[in-house]
């Protein structure tokens, strides 16, 4: 579990980022405009290969030149034709355990059965699953649910706000974070610097 990292000169004790990195052998959810960034930073911090499953028809695409901290050559992108295929591939990949982190972009709400199947597959494979969902489309089976959005800051243009809006085994909270490229990890920063 990640400890507290103080920015130089910060006088107050910053709150600890709880439930991060997401627990292994579970499936988590992330929503908001920067859910993709959440997935990539998590993969970069854990130092893991990444399997990214998405539906091939979507016009929005990841730009590997915009990855911060994560090496694009460690990513394998799987283009499926619909959500059923996405879930099937995700279950297989989670159960296999060859790739520690599996990210799947969901376009429709999944029911409890599908969510539970993903959880069981993650537990069998000892892998972490991360569903990128639209807001309000969460499944009850998820272990944690994060909401990630960018925050405007006069000095810093990489700052994000991560809100833990569901946590099955702990408290929730909200943090301002940024990527520390020297320490190669996500650091909590003070929201008071506005």
């Amino acid at each position: 579990m990640l400890g507290v990292v103080n920015l130089a000169g910060a006088s107050t004790q910053l709150p600890e980022l709880t439930a991060y990195p997401p627990r292994r052998s579970r499936v988590h959810e992330a929503s908001g405009p920067l859910a993709a960034s959440f997935a990539l930073w998590t993969a970069a911090q854990v130092g893991a290969d990444l399997l990214w499953i998405r539906e091939g028809w979507r016009s929005e695409q990841l730009n590997p030149l915009g990855f911060e901290g994560f090496d694009p050559s460690r990513l394998i992108l799987i283009q499926t034709k619909d959500q059923t295929a996405t879930l099937a591939v995700a279950e297989e990949a989670l159960r296999d355990g060859a790739v520690p982190l599996v990210v799947l972009e969901l376009t429709a709400r999944i029911d409890l059965t599908a969510g539970r199947r993903l959880q069981l597959a993650a537990r069998a494979g000892g892998t972490t699953g991360l569903c990128l969902i639209a807001e309000g489309m969460g499944s009850n089976a998820a272990e944690t649910r994060w909401h990630c959005r960018p925050v405007f800051d006069p000095q810093d243009s990489t700052r994000q706000q991560w809100s833990l809006i569901k946590n099955k085994s702990g408290t929730i909270g909200a943090w301002h974070v940024r990527w520390d490229s020297k320490a190669h990890r996500v650091t909590v920063v003070s929201p008071a610097r506005e």
Binding site: E60, P64, G66
Partner: protein, 484 residues
């Protein structure tokens, strides 16, 4: 070079190889021709005896042939299949002697030195050879001789003639040389052999004398027996039909072991495997396996077949199994090192399994591409057919997410102070730029019709950090991406 034993060469010429092959499959009487499209005309490529008797000849226009002979039946020629067929005949001919070469385009040459006695002498062997080929429906002319040239000459220009009496065309010369020799009055090989050599060499070059010497045995000529390409297929016939998945997998395991041993001998790895299961009722179903990496490890390949085998309908049972490596790639042994991923094969196996579900081309990875155009600065390629590459260089910060440009209502060269995008009203807190990117004029791209682009990194007070561009040549503002 040679130890005194007399060499004996047999040359086989199949004068109607193509049409004989076609008639073997579609047997019919009456005149028959194969046509081949040459330029814009359909011409007669090969014809059977009945068609020859009606006055047709090779190379005549097919429409003329139809006019002469209204009851003519025809098929399209397939020169590739003819070559394959000749290859099969070559393989068959190795039953007579080990040294069998191909005389392109429609002959074989056999070095039967020391092997004819096994079949009861040369005459008996030739008769048996001819009988078998005739039974197979192939017209053949067989020439024997002490040299390859002599055998060829007899096969093409008279089987029992003395070499000296054969025309000069029997020396495997090009037609111009033959015509010139005939004009000089040198009609037979004997006449040619008796003429002085030096003027001939001056007039026709070394080729003529080389052919003459080869035919007469003064110059050695080799027969290149071809090596059969390795055949990566194994089969198994079962005394009793099987139907359980576990039984089929056990059979597959046995086949795989044999196939992989063969692959290992040739330092090759299978890329595409095809398991054909033939049922008792003669129906067959194929299980195709496309591997993410060339492989030859039976223990790793076998589990990958599970999904495909489970889907097969066994019907009344399966009694024949055949496993073929359809596509094979070289796979030299690699040095074992401690550097690199701990278990590189595991990810490949996962890719293979996902590939059997959704298609191997849908499992992709990013590779860097050399372009300033944002959407062309990387390419997506199938992961199974590429290796990860390094060299990701972004000269300036690039957005995390790219989408097709979405127009924004704004004017001027600087980013607007406030604008609406995707139903959101946004105010600009900070704008960094411009970064000018020119279209690649050497590529046609409709998205870059508006010309130059000035890119700005726009941070809004609402939080969203957008990648916007202005097109000065054709004024307009667009949003193309979003930063992390």
């Amino acid at each position: 070079m040679f130890d005194g034993t007399q060499r004996r060469i047999v040359s086989l010429w199949f004068p109607r190889l193509a049409s004989d092959r076609a008639l073997r499959m579609h047997a019919q009487n009456g005149p028959f021709v194969l046509t081949l499209r040459q330029g814009s005309a359909n011409r007669v490529h090969c014809l059977n005896e009945a068609a020859e008797a009606r006055g047709l000849y090779r190379g005549m226009p097919f429409s003329d042939a139809r006019a002469y002979c209204p009851d003519l039946s025809s098929l399209q020629a397939d020169p590739q299949a003819d070559r394959r067929f000749l290859g099969l005949l070559r393989r068959w001919a190795t039953r007579w002697c080990p040294w069998v070469g191909i005389e392109t385009p429609d002959g074989l040459v056999l070095d039967i030195t020391g092997s004819s006695h096994i079949f009861g002498g040369e005459e008996v062997m030739i008769a048996a050879l001819r009988a078998r080929l005739c039974r197979a429906g192939l017209s053949v002319q067989i020439g024997t001789g002490d040299t390859r040239g002599a055998a060829w000459a007899r096969a093409h220009h008279g089987e029992d003639a003395a070499l000296e009496d054969l025309p000069v065309a029997a020396l495997r010369l090009d037609p111009e040389t033959v015509t010139s020799l005939q004009r000089m009055g040198l009609r037979s090989i004997g006449q040619l052999a008796d003429s002085p050599r030096a003027p001939l060499a001056r007039r026709f070059g070394a080729e003529l004398l080389l052919r003459l010497d080869q035919a007469l045995g003064r110059q050695a000529e080799q027969i290149g027996p071809e090596v059969d390409p390795p055949h990566y297929a194994v089969r198994m016939t079962l005394p009793e039909p099987i139907g359980l998945v576990s039984d089929v997998m056990a059979g597959t395991a046995r086949l795989l072991e044999r196939l992989c041993a063969k692959l290992k001998d040739h330092q090759a790895g299978a890329r595409i495997l095809c398991l054909s299961l033939r049922r008792v009722d003669r129906a067959a179903s194929d299980v195709e396996l496309r591997l993410a990496r060339p492989m030859r490890d039976p223990a790793r390949i076998l589990p990958l077949f599970e999904r495909g085998v489970a889907e097969v309908d066994a019907g009344f049972g399966i009694d024949q199994m055949r496993l073929e490596a359809v596509q094979v790639e070289p796979l030299p042994p690699e040095q074992v090192t401690h550097i690199g991923p701990r278990d590189p094969g595991r990810l490949d196996d996962l890719i293979t399994r996902i590939g059997t579900r959704i298609g191997l081309e849908n499992v992709q990875r990013f590779l860097p591409a050399d372009s300033h155009i944002p959407e062309r600065s990387f390419i997506l390629v199938p992961a199974a057919y590429s290796r990860p590459e390094r060299g990701w260089v972004a000269p300036r910060p690039r957005p995390l997410i790219l989408f097709p440009p979405e127009p924004v209502v704004a004017t001027g060269h600087e980013p607007p102070a406030r604008f609406r995008w995707r139903g959101m009203s946004l105010t600009v807190g900070r704008a960094t730029g411009p970064e000018r990117i020119a279209p690649e004029w050497w590529l046609q791209d409709d998205n870059w019709r508006r010309g130059l682009r000035d890119y700005w990194r726009v941070e809004t007070h609402q939080g969203r950090r957008l990648w916007m561009f202005h097109t000065p040549q054709n004024p307009g503002w667009f949003v193309q991406g979003e930063f992390a």
